[in-house]
Symmetry: C2
DNA sequence: AAGTTAATCAAACGTCTGTTTAATTTAGTG
DNA sequence: CACTAAATTAAACAGACGTTTGATTAACTT
């Protein structure tokens, strides 16, 4: 109890800053969010951000770490094992999409600030990407090569899978602006199933009259 | 000749600003690129940017227009007609990927600054997305529904196709940091073929011993 | 050659940026 | 209660931001 309240007190401002940063970075972008706005929204003093995180960049990398460590973990647990490749992929896609849906804001920050040439950020991301690379290489690409003589690089598969799974969440701000007269089932469950089916069997390979 | 030099002179600075902006926005991001840096790199006076384009935002929307108008045009020309759906899709993917490769910088600007809640930018993008929506709905989704009883929303198909085709180019800054001991054929032609095959037949639906 | 329009320029506008400092408050320990 | 360390604060730092202004130069028309 004492230890708890102690840590709560110590980390209260820190946590508040982190949570607020995730929301603001995702909605406005990292660069468009000023530290003053962030501090005011989080209800803390401006200097607290640099006090707890060192710099704005460090705050971003900490957010990236939270996201990527979970994403890598999902890939590791769902893709390892001796199951059929289709089973593993289905497991991975389903779980990853649910993770993306529950962490939209993380996803947006992690993916859309992906290209900036900031050495600090790129280097940080590539550390996580390297881990994903190895998992995908071992569990997907080697299996495709052995079982189907399909030589595909993890550098192709990994971005492709991540992109296709996250497309719904990244495009949503624009898609919401478009009126749609026909009604489609766009539930998350159906979305995950559809993406899985397309990745496994393609648009044309799916069973007719499904 | 007179007309040419006239227009050349008039548009020289303007063109220079536009070309420089595309490079800088793509490499550093829109927000990280200041107008002073842009003007200096382009070799023009700072005030010229607002003189020719009105504002920094307008400069961005003009860049987006150049990209999206071509992208919509590619979709329209490759997807319309009475050919088989697989033929149309193959045509579209091949051409779009080549277009992306030749306009990487445009692509990065158009896609990665996609989520920012700036009303001006989002509204502008949704205008183009609406055109893509109609083409994809008419030429892909309706055909899938009629021929295969597959009810898929254009709001799913369009972001998915765009994401999967652009994944290579968007992830490249991070992927380049990863050393790869095995050698894969990553030529553009092979990339386009692979993406086409995966979209049409999925990862598992492809012919063994291909 | 005079008049008109477009293009270029340096300079300043007010505001916001991330970061640091030093003083102050708060809380926990002996 | 005194001591120590962590947390919080207001204030200032130097610089960058997008945009505007008014003067000046260049080019084209009549």
């Amino acid at each position: 109890m004492k230890n708890n309240s102690e840590k709560n007190c110590r980390n209260n401002s820190r946590q508040q800053i982190l949570a607020t940063a995730i929301t603001l970075f995702a909605h406005q972008g990292f660069d468009k969010t000023g530290l003053r706005e962030l501090a005011k929204t989080a209800g803390v003093n401006l200097a607290m951000v640099n006090y707890f995180f060192g710099s704005k960049n460090k705050l971003l990398t900490e957010i990236l770490d939270i996201f990527f460590s979970q994403y890598v973990d999902i890939a590791r647990t769902t893709l390892s094992g001796d199951d059929e490749l289709s089973v593993k992929l289905e497991r991975f896609i389903l779980k990853a999409i649910k993770f993306f849906a529950e962490n939209r804001e993380f996803l947006i920050i992690a993916i859309t600030d992906l290209h900036h040439e900031d050495e600090e950020i790129i280097g940080h991301k590539s550390t996580w990407a390297r881990q994903m690379f190895k998992i995908v290489e071992l569990e997907i690409c080697h299996r495709l090569a052995e079982e189907r003589n399909l030589k595909l690089s993890p550098k192709l598969i990994m971005p492709m899978l991540t992109s296709i799974m996250s497309s719904r969440f990244l495009f949503s701000p624009v898609m919401e602006q478009i009126e749609d007269n026909e009604t489609y089932d766009m539930s998350l469950q159906r979305y995950a199933e559809t993406i899985t089916a397309i990745v496994l069997d393609g648009i044309l390979g799916q069973k007719v009259l499904r």
